[in-house]
């Protein structure tokens, strides 16, 4: 049902006609984000240029009960920026100024459309950088990162977006502008900034973000090691951790993922190895060198078949280029694929991978694996061909993998979010009471349910009348946690 002409005029009044897209062909290009399985064409796309204009748009939405969905670069992999029918998309990509780099206080003030990599680009002349580094960093926006609490390879040591955001200016769903958090970590009252982080665009729109910057480490040592099996690689990770070493990053790829990434980048990965591990250490020269020797020894101990040590910043960049291109590059080895994102306790990595391989065999669908081995965050890439009618099978396998992660005591998502994709799986991880409490929090921010409605929570429309029933959490079954 098209929006009332008068409402459209109000948006035009706020933004000017050029920044309101209403042509159905143009708005079509906003029908999905990085998760293409779900598509909804919005009524309007609004492209404000200032925080005030964002607030103005949201006020119009609030006044007329028009649902809105914030959108950054649209790289989300859980359908978080999927438009709502009869609603509007508010694109933040034009708010893209780095407002300030405060070198003394090591922080930067950003508009939400600044890309993750631009933060580091602005900071690096001062020897500073922004730590969270999603693989999509050259394109995803800090606003999207905030909404998804994005992580990256280097989050093992340095934490996720939530650990690096000091304050947020937020347009609440009623159009009011508030600041959450402050100039220091010392907060006044409950950490509402923390609640907003990772809320997947359901609690408001952030229009200004202050992030912490870190000093570029004195030394970085990166190695790429091949192993005869994923299990051997996993053992290396365990040994590194029990040696008391916290690497900056530990990433693993299996043969299929390597094939794709190497095809895309020619970064120098071995095409004949079953598993490759990227380990990076950083820190002061003394510590870093000392620990690097230990890591090399651990690699040897577990039958490393090739050890490539990055000898220059270019070689390091190359190794990372290969790793970071992995997801998107899978398009080269499969016409269609689903990027799954689940977490398991690190000690159960091998077990889970075996299980996944088994499940893949059963369904006759290939699964490539890329994962943040240090924190147990798996990215199984489910490869299929829609043309061959494998879509549904792949969907099922992918959901089963995510739910397997929960059964193993892990989580449905480590960094990509729940969004539309996993909303129906939420009852696997959370009970009715938990979800009910989440709803109450949401209602405090958005009583009229106009801010990215339909995401995160299982809804009858999305999941059928009876969304998946709660099954006791395995930790409960083991008596590790208790539920009443």
């Amino acid at each position: 049902m098209p929006l009332d002409r008068r409402i459209v005029d109000e948006f035009v009044g706020v933004l000017g006609a050029a920044d309101v897209l209403s042509d159905p062909i143009r708005t079509r290009t906003y029908e999905c984000d990085g998760l293409t399985g779900y598509r909804v064409v919005p009524e309007l796309v609004l492209l404000p240029r200032t925080a005030e204009a964002v607030a103005g748009c949201v006020k119009v939405c609030a006044r007329h009960g028009v649902p809105f969905v914030a959108r950054g670069a649209g790289t989300g992999l859980s359908g978080g920026a999927l438009p709502v029918a009869d609603g509007v998309v508010i694109g933040l990509n034009r708010l893209n100024r780095v407002l300030e780099v405060d070198v003394e206080n090591r922080r930067a003030v950003l508009e939400p459309g600044v890309t993750n990599l631009e933060i580091t680009a602005a900071a690096s002349p001062f020897g500073l950088y922004y730590a969270p580094d999603p693989s999509s960093q050259q394109v995803c926006t800090i606003g999207g990162n905030v909404a998804e609490n994005s992580g990256g390879a280097h989050c093992l040591k340095y934490g996720f977006t939530t650990n690096h955001v000091l304050s947020l200016e937020v347009v609440l769903p009623d159009g009011s502008l508030v600041t959450l958090g402050g100039d220091s970590a010392e907060q006044q009252g409950p950490d509402l900034r923390g609640v907003f982080l990772g809320s997947e665009g359901t609690l408001g729109i952030t229009t200004k973000i202050t992030v912490r910057l870190l000093r570029t480490p004195e030394t970085m040592r990166t190695l790429l090691a091949d192993f005869p099996s994923v299990a051997a690689g996993g053992q290396v990770v365990s040994d590194i951790v029990s040696a008391g070493i916290v690497p900056a990053a530990v990433e693993m790829m299996d043969a299929l993922a390597i094939e794709a990434a190497e095809g895309a980048t020619g970064a120098g990965y071995s095409l004949d190895t079953p598993a490759a591990l990227v380990v990076e250490l950083d820190g002061t020269a003394e510590e870093c060198d000392d620990q690097f020797e230990q890591v090399k020894a651990i690699c040897d101990k577990h039958g490393c078949t090739r050890l490539h040590i990055a000898g220059s910043p270019e070689e390091r960049a190359n190794i990372w280029r290969g790793r970071k291109a992995a997801f998107a590059a899978v398009g080269r080895i499969s016409p269609d694929y689903i990027v799954q994102d689940g977490v398991v306790p690190r000690t159960r990595l091998s077990e889970v991978l075996d299980k996944i391989a088994e499940m893949a065999d059963e369904s006759g669908i290939r699964v490539a694996n890329v994962f943040h081995a240090g924190d147990g965050n798996l990215h199984p890439l489910v490869l299929y061909s829609e043309a061959n009618g494998e879509a549904e099978q792949a969907e099922t396998l992918s959901s089963r993998i995510a739910e397997l992660c929960v059964e193993m005591g892990g989580s449905l998502s480590g960094e990509h979010g729940i969004g539309t994709d996993k909303a129906c799986s939420m009852p696997r991880m959370f009970g009715e009471e938990d979800l009910e409490a989440f709803h109450r929090v949401r209602a405090a921010f958005d009583p009229d349910d106009i801010c990215n409605p339909g995401k995160l929570f299982p809804t009858p429309r999305l999941c059928g009348e009876r969304p998946g029933k709660y099954r006791p959490h395995p930790l409960e079954e083991h008596g590790a946690i208790e539920r009443l």
Binding site: R28, T29, D33, T36, R39, S136, Q138, A325, A329
Partner: protein, 444 residues
């Protein structure tokens, strides 16, 4: 999404389904797309354009209106091809879509008048030479009907076109290259040079420098007479019929020559000649010939870099004199993105002693020249030109080099004067030529 109806494309080489399906919608191409940078709108990004092509192919939308508008907005810079981790061949997609638009979409009167005039002028060396004569463009080209029509209806557009023609001396405009220039010293290769249309009239000095450098580095250089335009501008604008005719003529002109490589010093010509094989793939008579031709096409920097890196008798041969100063190399999109030639020109420049090669920030972003783009989309081109000029100024170069005449003109227009007069804007071979000949670096 399943097919919604008959494809909006006609049956002549529509964009291939597999190529459309390669796009996984990851958005990695957004930051390097100049139009997305300018306007921040999804439908003017590679991802958005591919989605629109997909919808048209599925019969969900038509070709006229927004579809054509957003395809026209594309500069064809191919930065997205470089950026895409999934290996999406946007170049091929665009190449199939543009002729579809030319065939199936009626353009506005003024737009088609303007396009006709552009293509009545640029591919013709004789008309370009006439244009180089003193006097107003209209008077010089009054015999060309398309130009006459434009002048009558839209004199302003004609003036805009004229403003992009560079100043040139008459001697240069009418000079010709020798048909055969022998290698100096032992011959390392035999090459044939495409002298180009715009290049030969307005940048004849670059052609001369190219011949001298190639010969000094041990190449026999043939410059066949009766060369015509290679069709690059037309290929990139989707004027397929005419472009294919030019392609066939160019192939016919060069294919019988006994040479190791067909060399061009124009990025745009190189990229389209390398595509002949693909463009003519459906033509049984020409497919194999085109394929063989494309396989031999090289940018001049590729030829030199290959000579320098040979194991046997490799390395620079001609002695060089030092060139001091900061030299900024601008990657022409049709060389860097379309042909993946980035390292070679730099490697070639580094053979000049004492040269300080500097990078330009946002190197992947187009300068806005993009074939005929700066004539038909002057506002966008101007914004991109300003932006590029800003980054070049930041690099504080003493000389700027780039391997495409369009880029040279565009950058010259926006760079303006430095503290010591205009910064010289050259083709890289001109710099190398000066170094080899031990003469002063030319001003243009």
């Amino acid at each position: 999404m399943p097919q919604q109806g008959p494809s909006a494309f006609d049956a002549i080489r529509p964009p291939e389904r597999e190529l459309l399906d390669d796009c996984v919608h990851c958005g990695f191409c957004l930051p390097t797309c100049p139009t997305y940078q300018l306007w921040g709108e999804e439908m003017d990004s590679p991802r958005g354009r591919i989605l629109l092509m997909d919808l048209a192919q599925k019969g969900d939308i038509g070709l006229d209106g927004p579809f054509t508008e957003h395809m026209d907005n594309c500069l064809g810079c191919m930065a997205c091809v470089t950026a895409c981790p999934s290996g999406v061949q946007y170049d091929k997609l665009l190449e199939s879509v543009r002729p579809q638009i030319e065939r199936n979409v009626t353009r506005t009167k003024s737009d088609s008048l303007f396009r006709e005039a552009i293509f009545a002028l640029f591919p013709y060396k004789r008309r370009l030479r006439a244009a180089a004569l003193p006097g107003a463009l209209y008077q010089k080209l009054a015999t060309v009907p398309a130009v006459r029509r434009l002048a009558a209806k839209l004199p302003g557009r004609l003036a805009a076109m004229e403003s992009l023609l560079p100043p040139v001396t008459l001697r240069e405009a009418f000079a010709t290259l020798p048909v055969h220039t022998a290698a100096i010293g032992k011959r390392r290769a035999r090459v044939a040079l495409l002298s180009g249309c715009v290049q030969d009239v307005f940048f004849h000095r670059v052609n001369e420098a190219t011949v001298r450098v190639l010969s000094a580095e041990g190449c026999d250089v043939l410059v066949p007479r009766e060369q015509q335009c290679c069709g690059a501008l037309e290929v990139h604008a989707g004027r397929e019929e005419s472009a294919l005719g030019r392609a066939r003529r160019t192939i016919a002109r060069f294919e019988t020559l006994d040479v190791d490589a067909i060399v061009t010093n124009v990025a745009g010509c190189g990229s389209s000649m390398k595509e002949y094989g693909h463009l003519l793939a459906d033509d049984p008579e020409w497919a194999a010939r085109a394929e063989a031709f494309s396989a031999r096409v090289r940018d001049v920097s590729e030829v030199l870099a290959e000579l320098y890196s040979r194991d046997d008798d490799g390395g620079p041969r001609a002695p060089r004199t030092p060139v001091q100063g900061r030299v900024a190399y601008h990657d022409a999109c049709h060389l860097g993105h379309a042909q993946g030639v980035r390292e070679q020109p730099r490697a070639v420049l580094r053979t000049i002693p004492e040269i300080e090669l500097v990078d330009i920030a946002e190197a992947a972003l187009c300068c806005g020249s993009a074939g005929i783009y700066n004539m038909i989309m002057p506002d966008a081109a101007a914004e991109l030109g300003e932006r590029k000029a800003g980054k070049i100024r930041d690099a504080k170069p003493d000389v700027v080099v780039t391997a495409n005449p369009g880029c040279l003109l565009q950058i010259r227009k926006y760079l303006g004067e430095g503290a010591h007069g205009p910064v010289p804007l050259l083709h890289p071979v001109q710099l190398l030529d000066a170094s080899i000949r031990g003469v002063e670096v030319p001003r243009s």
